[in-house]
Subunit: 197 residues, 4 copies
Amino acid sequence: MKQKSDKRRQEIITAAMNFFAEKGYHSTKISDISNKLNMAHGTFYIYFQSKAEIFSDIVEQYIKKLDQIFISVPYKAANISEFKNFVQTLGDEIFNLIVEDQKMAQIIFSQGANTDKKLKKKIVELMNKMDQLIESILIEGINRKFLVASMDTEIVAKAFRGMLVAGINDVAMNEISMERKERWINSILRIGLDGLV
Amino acid sequence: MKQKSDKRRQEIITAAMNFFAEKGYHSTKISDISNKLNMAHGTFYIYFQSKAEIFSDIVEQYIKKLDQIFISVPYKAANISEFKNFVQTLGDEIFNLIVEDQKMAQIIFSQGANTDKKLKKKIVELMNKMDQLIESILIEGINRKFLVASMDTEIVAKAFRGMLVAGINDVAMNEISMERKERWINSILRIGLDGLV
Amino acid sequence: MKQKSDKRRQEIITAAMNFFAEKGYHSTKISDISNKLNMAHGTFYIYFQSKAEIFSDIVEQYIKKLDQIFISVPYKAANISEFKNFVQTLGDEIFNLIVEDQKMAQIIFSQGANTDKKLKKKIVELMNKMDQLIESILIEGINRKFLVASMDTEIVAKAFRGMLVAGINDVAMNEISMERKERWINSILRIGLDGLV
Amino acid sequence: MKQKSDKRRQEIITAAMNFFAEKGYHSTKISDISNKLNMAHGTFYIYFQSKAEIFSDIVEQYIKKLDQIFISVPYKAANISEFKNFVQTLGDEIFNLIVEDQKMAQIIFSQGANTDKKLKKKIVELMNKMDQLIESILIEGINRKFLVASMDTEIVAKAFRGMLVAGINDVAMNEISMERKERWINSILRIGLDGLV
DNA sequence: CATGAATGAGGCTTCATTCAT
DNA sequence: AATGAATGAAGCCTCATTCAT
């Protein structure tokens, strides 16, 4: 009956994600979740040890997925054109993830920081990891002479992550249209490549 | 009496801000605040109607300050050099505000969204206002031919707001050094003007 | 089938005893028992109607055993020497029971009283029965002139039961060594026969 | 208002003691206590951090009192008569304590062992301390030649503690009559001095 | 204005017991 | 006989808010 059990577990996760995304962690009651699924609240505790645990699980799942993207997109950049493609693909993948897991994105990016300290830390870690990955791309670009050497890579990396997060939120809050996603990717790339002037 | 009363009110706000910034809205108890100030719990309710109210007050106060900046910085941009100066001054002022009210920045930018719906809405409003103000600057720049006409101003405005927020958080989290602030302003301006290539 | 069924029933009792002895009645969960035996929770209820029932069963089983001892040890006391032998044999048997069912002893003597009223009552009954049996031995001894007539048999019986219980606990708590058991029997007899002076 | 506050605290302790003594720790609900005192259950938590804490407090208070007795009774035993007096006084004081705090005695001596591990440990410690104190009296008596040297002081001390505990329980369970108390003291002393033969 | 004891709605969690398979 | 998911009564505890002093 593992199958059935897993299905129920997933139902709970889905319901929980919706509530977390909509009302935030603290305003979401276990009873919201159990009522939504027409089950006794005790049932929740068969699948999760606590409310904190399910939140933690959800966030962790998402962090792994994001991590995966940075790992899986092949870094090929023999020339500037390939470098641009790489960056574009990366952006694409990240936005696609959000399209898939819109609720999760909202949970993590629009309210992450203010629950338990442990989770806050986890989310800060995620941000730091994104910063590092972006910075490594910048440095690579500088070494290959695709990017200007004079930039402050630490800050610029964070700035781009900031844009990314804003984009994620924006796309997640607007019923997620592909068209909007494209606009974000194009704009960010454009800013990166040419600036606004 | 008014004087003394106002002083006490401000003390409560300051204490509350510190706790909100550190522990988040839900984890901050009225007793945290009253204990910190060595006053009875009941006293809090002489100055504020509820916990939600003080949070709301704090955020609103901050929104006004931010608003003030956009209003007060004189918009003079007869030529591109003046335009650059204007943008730089604006950035300077915004970061200065954060230096002054570090705790508030943390409250609003790193954990604002996940409290009550009303508050969430208010913070979204703040973001939207920033977007609008930034977009108006972009449009002005385009009209004056300082900026390229082909950009997607709506998205670009949000992207820059994203950078700004990332910068605010970064500066707020790092004991606020002037030097770091300068690095952010320079980097953002540089990105806007020249891109990374 | 009966055979197998009985075996399973006994396994449950054994597991339950261990947990009751270790954690007490209230802290022992049905799931502790079923997990220990690698069976489903529901299975427990095939063999016992409730948690209270199994506890009751365990205690009752023990009471019967104790009872049995008092019945089975032949009361021969034609002279003081035989009387001493009788008392010694009795003590021996009682301590032997504890050696066999160490866990039960712990359950009953060191934590029995604080569960349900019904159970408490049962344990008080056990104590009372012990008191009566001891008192009857005392009275017999007095009648035969082996013991001094002036004693307060009711109280003295309870006092000796108190020693017995202390001894049971002590032996049960100390990995049950035969040597320690002997020390207890000797000391109690010695106290009874000669006092400490 | 410390006064008033202390009064309420004491009321809660008294009510709690009664319920603990009657129903045991686990069967006593916070609502039993608050209902009894016609107060909201939340009020309980103004005075005590948790149910475990109040129980712990009660036990600890009692342990201290018992401890105090052993400390306060002056040990004078120049001759056997004084030694007897000393022992008698000690017994008297201990039983008097029980007369005063009948409920506490029941809590500690008839059900102590089976709540939290911490408390169990505390009660075992109490017993051990009693054992040590009694043993020290025995050894003192032996050194002074008031008592026979051949006894097994460790075991005998525990045996007498066992009698004491049985007496405490018995007196506590029987509406506490002075007369019964006297019978116990006399019987225990008599056993100790002369044995039963 | 200040106090702080009191309130009680409401949340989280546990676990004995049931029952459809 | 056995299973184990589901149930839900019941308990512990929190904390924003009130109010008599």
